[in-house]
């Protein structure tokens, strides 16, 4: 098992596609942080999330202030000055070298196929920069498009989310091993996002 690069959770990335950047939440301006919060709080975005509650500006800014102390990574995806979405890697499991991955995109680009792009960059950062061994994900059963995208990225459907868990039976649990990314998913998904960008 290769060593996970935890320091890479805290940096910004210039992506190979012209004009695209991943900006760590800790490095976002307050204006952009609040713009991103507005996207996250939009009804069509938050209702697809495990935690679908509205988040206050005060809680969001406090959450960002506490990020440097934790083994988590949160980035905003920007195209030039436009905020397009967010990716996150949380719940680091040292034994497995795994993170729970999450992402969302701006309401204006939902339905455009951009979900594949944000997923591509989440896998790219997790496997090529952080060098983790596995991404885990929890998806709402009724989020058909998320399930379809995850299939594209080689998701292994682990089981119906543990009914003993507090979030209940409305979710499925998925895993994405690093070797799948290296052995074909990267190339396959790269071709796909070319159609979107």
């Amino acid at each position: 098992m290769q060593k996970v690069a935890l320091h890479a959770l805290k940096v910004d990335y210039v992506l190979e596609k012209d004009g695209y950047h991943l900006i760590n939440y800790s490095n976002l301006s307050q204006k952009d942080s609040l713009k991103l919060l507005a996207i996250r709080n939009h009804h069509s975005v938050r209702t697809r999330m495990v935690n679908s509650n509205l988040i206050s500006e005060e809680n969001h800014l406090n959450f960002i202030l506490n990020l440097p102390k934790q083994n988590v990574g949160y980035w905003a995806l920007k195209y030039k000055n436009d905020l397009l979405g967010s990716i996150s890697l949380v719940d680091y499991n040292e034994k497995e070298g795994s993170f729970v991955g999450g992402n969302f995109i701006a309401p204006k680009i939902i339905g455009s196929g951009f979900g594949a792009v944000i997923n591509y960059y989440m896998h790219y950062v997790a496997f090529e920069k952080i060098k983790c061994n596995k991404i885990k994900a929890i998806v709402k059963k009724d989020n058909i498009n998320a399930i379809r995208i995850n299939k594209l990225f080689g998701a292994i459907h682990i089981n119906e989310y543990d009914s003993k868990n507090e979030i209940g039976n409305d979710y499925i649990s998925l895993e994405f091993p690093a070797e799948y990314w290296i052995n074909g998913i990267k190339e396959k998904s790269r071709k796909i996002i070319e159609y979107v960008l």
Partner: protein, 73 residues
């Protein structure tokens, strides 16, 4: 690829509810389906399809013609 597997994949990609899929079954390709179809056709048939060609796929038979009936057992 076996034709029944091809149909099963297409049914899943296009979220078709019909029990019986025939060559004349109409299809609608949304943005997500178009990405999944592009990946499917590339992976299993080594075929690239443009957005323009995707728009011309109206029925199951158009998809079969695109991959080539001879490539489905």
């Amino acid at each position: 690829m076996e034709k029944k597997h091809f149909i099963a994949e297409v049914k899943e990609i296009l979220l078709l509810d019909e029990q019986d899929i025939s060559p004349d079954t109409n299809i609608e390709i949304d943005s997500m389906a178009s990405l999944l179809l592009i990946a499917f056709l590339d992976e299993h048939f080594s075929k690239s399809i443009s957005q323009e060609q995707l728009k011309d796929l109206k029925q199951i038979k158009d998809l079969i013609n695109f991959v080539g009936a001879e490539n489905l057992k």
